[in-house]
């Protein structure tokens, strides 16, 4: 996991500060495993509950797989968020793939253009506190956030 400054840790609102904790390149199924481990490490470091850790890692796994398979490879940026005294973890998955033509349809459970169960996007959203997707023919960016409860 290379750590470097990056514009990918862009928070969703002005009051939140974001610092990049790492980047994982996603081009193979082994990279998906690597990403799961990196997310787990960060979630543990932030002292998320075991259940929240599991949700984060599971959501990350779904989105990372999408990046590799549908996005034809890309990156995952892991960002530490601070909103006042509240800490959070943001994961942003970016690729330069063909994009998702119908996001609403893709978000619906059971829909899959491949051989998956079609739970990737909708599932990741359900497991997260915030979900954001920006997609088009030149690429896709999906972001999820999990906040530590007070």
């Amino acid at each position: 996991m290379r750590g470097s400054g990056g514009a990918a840790c862009v928070p969703m609102s002005g009051e939140i500060t974001a610092t990049q904790a790492g980047v994982v390149s996603l081009h193979s199924s082994e990279d998906v495993v690597r990403l799961r481990q990196a997310v787990r490490e960060q979630a543990v470091a932030l002292k998320f509950s075991l259940i929240d850790q599991t949700k984060l890692v599971t959501a990350a796994s779904e989105l990372a797989r999408n990046t590799v398979i549908y996005g034809k490879g890309g990156d995952a940026h892991i960002c530490l968020l601070l909103n006042g005294s509240r800490r959070g973890l943001q994961l942003r998955f970016t690729d330069r793939g063909p994009g998702i033509a119908d996001v609403e349809q893709a978000m619906r459970d059971g829909y899959s253009s491949g051989s998956g169960l079609g739970l990737g996007l909708g599932g990741a959203k359900r497991l997260s506190d915030a979900f954001d997707i920006d997609t088009g023919p030149s690429g896709t960016s999906v972001s999820i956030i999990k906040w530590k409860p007070f």
């Binding site: 193979s28 199924s29 495993v33 787990r40 259940i51 850790q53 599971t58 797989r65 998956g116 169960l117």
Partner: protein, 118 residues
């Protein structure tokens, strides 16, 4: 590529997943299990996931596919040792495992499979 070992105990097959599987390894396991059910004429498959702290939709699909293929081959699948955080996450993910029985541990899983056989 390494493969996950499958043990035979009488007419039962036992798999203990102890690594964070990448997708190809999961697919290989599914294929290996199906082949072994036929080759060993197994009546039951026991998948021990007590070491897995993440089960996502791909692994979930591998498990339910395995169970479906086992059923076609007249064998029953039991998943044992699901961690609580994994169970909670699977429910929220909306992932169902149709045709898959669950048990707390290997002993109870084997009892479940043995009872069915009588």
């Amino acid at each position: 590529m390494e493969r996950i070992p499958i043990l035979r105990m009488g007419r039962l097959l036992l798999v203990t997943i102890q690594v964070d599987m990448h997708d190809q390894l999961a697919v290989a396991l599914q294929d290996d299990l199906t082949n072994r059910i036929v080759k060993d004429r197994a009546r039951g498959v026991l998948i021990d996931i007590s070491a897995l702290d993440v089960v996502d939709s791909f692994i979930g699909r591998m498990i339910s596919n395995t169970a479906a293929m086992a059923r076609v081959l007249d064998a029953r699948t039991v998943v044992v040792g699901m961690q609580p955080a994994v169970a909670i996450t699977l429910v929220e993910l909306g992932l169902e495992l149709p045709g898959v029985s669950t048990a707390l541990n290997v002993e109870r899983g084997m009892a479940l499979l043995r009872d069915r056989d009588d």
